[in-house]
């Protein structure tokens, strides 16, 4: 049975008497298992139920929409059903929507529309741990938009399109966290839906009807009008609209990778310097609260593409391939976790010494060579693991260091190793990858995956 969850205000009926850090009051209590989650998570780490951001106002619970529609048909159906709340569908373009009518507020909470197709779709697609986005989020976001409120969506770990579906399914089942979740196939990370009042309407190439700027489908005939790289058609970013020729002619491109692994908006990188961040006019970047105003710069040196971190808060993370050397203080991201590696000899003591020759007593170090810390806030480590073996394995279930509550971490995800005074991080074929924070700058290769704020991008470099 499909579990459709709605956004829950953080104050609502928290049953668990948990010790709640006061520094972060904005938590979302899972309506299913009552676990408190970070407000930027889309899914409950306890049970995988979808969450929303803790809203700043109480929203009416939006209406669930049927799944399983595809492409233009979906656009028509969606527009026909609930104008501003068309479900985004797998393989559909990232940016929505041809809607002839002005938007209406979402329907009141009561009715959860059950569609007979839902369960079949669920069985058919049930799967990867990462496919956990749903229409309720779009609806809620749209409701917020309609109400004039800022909409923030969390960063979503994306599934590598080439990931092994079977192993992901197995992992999801083993996790037991999302077994009853109907993953919604496709949600654009940027859902500030353009309103039909936008000017600069284009004409549909198929039927000649007006297509408001930013809409992906012709409202009349359903013809696609987007920048999906699968069909090189016009770009559909509401503000920043590079012409398709510019995009394809650019020496390199950033391609948005959606949570289900599909590709979305394409952002061209010129042969000069391109600085992206929250202050960039493109909505790809301007709507991500996890991006610094000036976050990263892309530039070419002798035909080689580089990314430079502009001292951003959250950094630039590059997906590692195989084994990479790491150093004291390096940060990496796996699943929903941000972790930091420290070399034991460089860790500062927390207990004071005395000037009288007395040594500070404590547990024997027993060859510990490093520590790994989960970072939960600025400069704030929480759980810490001691690294002592030559190889320390990290995973959701297997290994010395486990994150059993994080469904985005693979059963066995990566490992840290220590050889001849050097330290290495190795991804062990994880589904969602291991991302190492770039120090200063990094050389980018074709098809590298890079995390900026909450979004994942694929690097495309023209031949």
């Amino acid at each position: 049975m499909a579990t459709t969850c709605f956004w829950v205000a953080n104050s609502s009926a928290s049953k668990s008497p948990t010790f709640r850090p006061t520094g972060n009051p904005n938590v979302i209590t899972c309506p299913n298992c009552s676990r408190d989650n970070e407000n930027h998570y889309k899914f409950c780490l306890g049970c995988g139920t979808e969450l929303g951001k803790a809203p700043r106002m109480s929203l009416p619970a939006p209406t669930a929409l049927p799944l399983g529609l595809k492409g233009p048909a979906a656009a028509r159906m969606g527009a026909a059903l609930v104008p501003p709340a068309k479900p985004a569908v797998k393989n559909a373009p990232p940016r929505v929507i041809a809607i002839p009518e002005p938007p209406e507020p979402p329907e009141p909470p009561e009715a959860q529309v059950e569609d007979p197709m839902v369960d079949e779709v669920a069985i058919e697609r049930a799967p990867e741990p990462t496919l956990m986005t749903s229409n309720s989020e779009i609806l809620a976001a749209m409701a917020a938009e309609a109400a004039g409120h800022e909409t923030e969506l969390p960063w979503d770990h994306s599934l590598d399109a080439s990931a092994d579906l079977a192993s992901a399914m197995a992992a999801a089942q083993m996790a037991g966290a999302i077994s009853d979740e109907v993953p919604f196939p496709h949600v654009p990370t940027s859902v500030a839906a353009p309103l039909p009042t936008h000017s600069d309407a284009r004409l549909c190439v198929q039927c000649g009807a007006a297509v408001p700027d930013g809409f992906k489908f012709c409202g009349v005939c359903g013809t696609r009008h987007d920048a999906s790289p699968r069909r090189a058609s016009p770009a559909g970013s509401p503000v920043f609209v590079p012409l398709v020729q510019d995009v394809q002619a650019a020496p390199a491109r950033l391609v948005v990778i959606h949570p289900d692994g599909t590709e979305g908006d394409v952002f061209p990188l010129t042969s000069g310097e391109t600085t992206v961040g929250r202050s960039h006019p493109s909505s790809i970047f301007s709507e991500d609260p996890f991006l610094s105003p000036r976050h990263a710069t892309f530039y070419f040196v002798k035909g080689q593409l580089f990314a430079r971190d502009e001292a951003s808060l959250n950094g630039v993370f590059l997906r590692i391939k195989g084994e990479v050397e790491i150093f004291h203080g390096d940060m990496f991201r796996i699943g929903q976790q941000l972790v930091r590696f420290e070399e034991m000899t460089q860790v500062r003591p927390v207990l004071p010494g005395a000037g009288d020759g007395t040594a500070v007593m404590g547990s024997p170090v027993r060859g510990a060579w490093g520590r790994l810390s989960a970072i939960v806030a600025l400069q704030t480590p929480a759980a810490v693991w001691v690294l002592r073996r030559a190889e320390e394995n990290i995973g959701r279930e297997r290994g010395e260091i486990t994150f059993p509550e994080d469904g985005f971490v693979s059963g066995g995800h990566c490992k840290l190793s220590h050889r001849t005074g050097r330290y290495f991080l190795t991804d062990v074929d994880s589904t969602n990858g291991t991302y190492l924070r770039v120090k200063a700058e990094a050389i980018l290769s074709r098809h590298d995956l890079i995390l900026l704020g909450q979004q994942l991008f694929k690097i495309e470099i023209s031949a």
Partner: protein, 263 residues
Amino acid sequence: MSVTVTCSNCQSPVPSEHRFCGGCGQVAKPAAEAAEAAVKTAFFGAMQNAGKAKLILIRGEGMDGVSYHLNANEHIAGRKSGAILFPEDNYLSPRHANFFYDQGRLFVRDEGALNGIFIRIRQPVELENGELFLAGEELLRVELRDTGGESVGPDHTHFFASPRPASRFRVTQLFEGGRSGLVHYSRDAAVVIGRESCHINFPNDRFISGRHCRVDFGPTKVVVTDLQSRNGTYVRVSGQHELTHGDYLFLGRQLLRVEITNV
């Protein structure tokens, strides 16, 4: 030939013409009493007398099983000064602890020692935020305060971070030298610590039991309970603490047992 009397305090032989005991400085009894005392059978040596209380060295420097008789009023233990000296243990402060009697009862007082005094618990003990305890060779600290930290950085950029643990308290391991090691956030109301199959495992600690101790989040405080471990669980003494027969104490690396015979 001088007659010797036995010192009433330390049972050392005191020549009758001496006004003070050479062993402990006690004022010698007048001759009449001395004569009376002379009738009593003397001990062969001071150590033969059980005295009021003694400390037995269980594990530490030198000969295990050495006993320290607590027959004076105050007995300083330390690395550099005092009657109970462990000059080789650099975990001891120069002046570490004071064993003293007050109204016939034996107490130990922390003399501002860097590493403090740890006493083996006999029943569940409440721990305040930041208090230390020992299990096996592991020095652990319980922390109740929230982790804190800002979630929004400069320019109002949100900080991407790991989920905050929904936890009531955490247990931090402290390494020799003062670095912190493992930090465990409780997932449940209790954290069991041991060598294997516990919430926190120290598989390489030969002195920790399979299931050694448990830390519970009580109504107001955290409570540590020993799970009948072989080597016991120790909590740090704050200020002074009354000792009873059979208590075990850690001063630095020195493990001492308290024996009180005739208080």
